[in-house]
Structure formats: structure tokens, C-alpha cells
Symmetry: C2
Subunit: 326 residues, 2 copies
Amino acid sequence: MVAPVGPGVVARRVLVIGAAGMIGRKLCLRLAGETGELIQHDVVPFEGASVVSDLSVPGAAEKLVASRPDLIFHLAAVVSGEAEADFEKGYRVNLDGTRRLFEAIRKENYRPRVVFTSSIAVFGAPFPEAIGDEFLSAPLTSYGTQKAVCELLLSDYSRRGLFDGIGIRLPTICVRPGKPNKAASGFFSGIIREPLAGQEAVLPVPDTARHWFASPRAAVGFLQHAATLETAKLGNRRNLSMPGVATTVGEQIAALRKVAGEKAVRLIRREPDATIARIVEGWPRNFAAQRATALGFRADRSFEEIIRIHIEDELQGKPQPRAGSG
Amino acid sequence: MVAPVGPGVVARRVLVIGAAGMIGRKLCLRLAGETGELIQHDVVPFEGASVVSDLSVPGAAEKLVASRPDLIFHLAAVVSGEAEADFEKGYRVNLDGTRRLFEAIRKENYRPRVVFTSSIAVFGAPFPEAIGDEFLSAPLTSYGTQKAVCELLLSDYSRRGLFDGIGIRLPTICVRPGKPNKAASGFFSGIIREPLAGQEAVLPVPDTARHWFASPRAAVGFLQHAATLETAKLGNRRNLSMPGVATTVGEQIAALRKVAGEKAVRLIRREPDATIARIVEGWPRNFAAQRATALGFRADRSFEEIIRIHIEDELQGKPQPRAGSG
């Protein structure tokens, strides 16, 4: 009775776990018109929620898959900083919660497509100049460890035919809309988002710091492509580093200047922070995402495009740096 | 109160989990004279057992670490074939059992050395000519998946200072003493062991099949070296592919001829088996185990030496191929 999922095929029933998050909300907006039934789940109540529950509590996953959604997006996670600060919570939610979902699907005994968002945090320094598709997962955080473990489980469950899984390692999402947060990576978005809104932003690392980015719009595109991809093409390697844009902070700033002028750039205040600089140094900087590219995943074309997407999608097309702030 | 473990330092209290296995027994024999107290554990009763329990049952791991052994060898596992045939048992023992051990140590809140035996089964084809230290874990069995997950956990627990872990990926152990078993890899030992005992052996794969070997004696040496290695040298990459001997079946047979003559070789009966040949094709063949070698782990020098070790350690120095069998 389950409709096949494939290119051009609309899933009959779609479950989004982690639907209240930034990417989850954008994905659900995109799916709303294309889906028979959309089940939106999160641990926190939110507008449009279908189910609110803690996936790591026994029984919650079974309830979610009882209606046999033929396409499941699993985006829910305790973020990196929290998983590092709270060992037990990180493992309970990110590892056990995901495993409970996979087990619930196994016991329901049907074979949905499962799209899992992994992270470039599965990789840890030292790195080659560009991280290729055969580079080892040696995470340097508990969050990265939990994601890497779930990738392995997803591969094994898929190999055994228990579901049809694909794991996509998202680049750092930039420009993140909304308020500044306390994530160590927050400034990558902040130095673009705040000046475009006429606000000051703090830059804690040198202009030479390089990182790997995708826009929220590209991230939603990755998820949609992963949902319809012919997974036979993946063989037994079900986890893919997504393509992105490798950009230094200096190049970010140059792109901001091009899009919004010197007035915007002057709102960036350099305030070196050795701790953040050290954390960022341990992060992946650049990838050779050949498999994903060959499979049709498409990155933003440039960091300038990433800024323009933010302006289109979040600022109704108009940046607003104030004249008096420079 | 816990004695430090380091080069030349004798551990005060040593726990061997999986002590009834072939490697476990040999390790315990070697440790007996060098250790303050030796706690031998397995799930099956055996001569010399200190504790018999199922590590995957709640409470068992806590009991094992309550006496705070300062050195723990974790060798216990459901083997590859069984983990593939019995999904739930494999995950329960190999993943949950190991995690229960790690959690029990975390909650006991001391920092023992933990030596974990992983496997080259964490790797899956396609492979490069030689698998290097930065090659991805993409296992093609549930057993390999479970080992790869435990490697990730061991790294994270070690990084967080919860214990001082090291994971060693053992090559295929050859020559395995004892009766032939039903493992798909059994013939690699069988074509040496049986002829040396005057028995016929079946060879199901072509002479060109290549694989990665270590003797039981080398494996025990790896474990002892891992127990005393200065782990600061490992950085955050705590799992190592052990060095070994890459040998084709043809080279195995040539070494057997050199050691035991044509009479022994004539006891090998070629009986091609497409299923076994296909399984073996998916296995790692060759490694560049540079990190482990640089850290002082030592492989057997040749496959001929592997045969001679079997004759010394298992056959009191004397092979016994019967004249009449050829």
C-alpha cells in the first residue's frame, strides 16, 4: 500500500522529525503543497505541530511510525554545544533517539525512505586540503560521535533492507536567520546577518579562517533531492558529504561589501577570541564532495549567492544597514 | 590508588572480558605471571574463570568494574556470522554490551586503560590497493558496524577523559588452532592446520585470493603492547589497524610446501565455492598500517613464520602429515 518514492513521485505520507527547527520549518513549508499528508513532529510545541513528543522516550518512535509514513526526514538533534556540555542528554537524544526510530521502523516491518541529517562534525582534524569521500570519521565532539554512529546504523539497516536510508552531512548553514546564538560557529552567520539588519556584529577569528557553507535554501534542496534519489546508485555507502562553498572570513566580508557596501562592512567589529579561534581551527574547512555532486546535489554557486538568498528569503529583498552606524 | 599503566609498569589488577576465547586464553596465560590480580570473565563457564556473566545484561558490567581493575581487555563478541544471522543478538552483545561496559566505567568514575579488540571488518569494499590509516569505515556486515560504532564510542569516552582507551583492529588470525569452524574465513587456517595434522583440507577460493593475517602469538603481542603504550602518542585517534602479513592463497601454499613439504600440500583439495569466493572478495586484502608500526606494534615477518609459530605453539614443534594421504 505504500507509494514508491522516486524521482518525480510524490510521497503519500511524510513525517518530519525536528520540524520546529530552522531547516525543519523551511522544509515543511516547501513540502506542504507537494505531499499527501505531512506529519510535523518536534519535542517542543510549535505552530503546525502534528505530534509533540520526546523521541528518546520508549514508545514515542513506535507511535510516530505506526501510520507508516513512506518518507521520513529525521532532522532532530541536541546541538553540538549542548551535547558536549550534557553527556547523557546528547547520547540519549542523538544516539538512542535515532536508534529507537530505526528500531521502530524495523519492527513495523515496512521499508520507508529515511533521510537523516548528519554533519561535517563527523570529521576531526588533522585534515587533508579537501576532505574526500573516503576520509575517515574521527569526530572531536560527542555530537560528531553521535552523528557518526547513526550514519553507521543507517548504513547497516539499509544494507539489511530494513529501510531505505540516506545520510547527508550538511555544511554549516549560513546565513542562519533569527537572533544570534551562543554556538561557537554563530559569528559566521552573524557577520553577515547583523550588518544587513543595521546591527553591529563581533568577529572573533582572523580573516584567514576558512569554513564550509550552504544556504538554508540549498540545505532544503539537499533534503528534497535525498528524498527522491534512486538509492541503488549509493551502493552500500549511504552517507554523503554535501557540496558547499569553501570561504574564508575575508572572502565573506568581500562578498558582503559587494552586496551591501562598505557601510555594512563597517558594522563588523574585530574582537579576537583565542578560545573560539582554536575551536574553529579544529573544524573542516574544505571538501571534495564528488559523490554527492555526481548524484545531483547542488551547492550554492558562491558566498555572494548565499548572501543574496538571505536577503531574498529573510529580508523581503532589502538589506537595511543604517547610515549612522559606521 | 590505581597504579599507573605504562611501559614496564605491571598492572595491579587486570580484567579480561572474553577470556574463554582462543586469544583470551593465550593472553591470560601470558599475563598470569606478570599481573597482581587477574580477573578472567566470559559468558560461558571455563577452567580458570573468575566471573561468568552476560555483559549485555543490566548490572553485569557494573559488577565487573566495581573492583576498579586498572587494565581492562575487552575481547568479547558475537562473531561475524552469528551477528549477521541474529540481528538482535549481535547488537545486544557487541554494541550494547560494550556500551554498558563503557558506561559502568564512566559511573565508577576512575580512569582505567581499556584495550578493545576491533576488526578489519570495519572496512568494506571497494578498497584502495592498501588501506591506509585515514580510510573510512564503511562496513558490509552488522558485526563490522558494531565494531565501528564501539570504536567511535571508545574515542569519545577517551577524549572526555572517562577512560584511557585504545582500539586495535586485528587482522584475520591464522593459524587458528582447534577444530574447523563454519566461519567463511575458516579455510585460511584450515588449509595450513589440517595438512600439518595429516588431515585433508578444502580450499573454496582461487589461489589468487589475498588476505591480511597475524598469528595468535602476534595478536597477543599487540594486546600487551596496547596495554602499556603511552596513549598520548595516539592523539584523538584511538583506533589502529594492526600490521599484518598480506598473503595470497598461492603464497600460503608455497610457504606450507617450504615448511612441511609436498606431502602436506597434497592434502589441500580444491573445491571452488562461488558463495565463499564472493564473500572473501568483499574483505580487506592489504593495509598500510603506518601508525601502528610507528607506535611499535610488530607483525609476523612472513607467512612462513606464521606457520612455524603454529608448529611451535600448537604442535610441540612437530608437523605430522601422514605419508599415505597424498
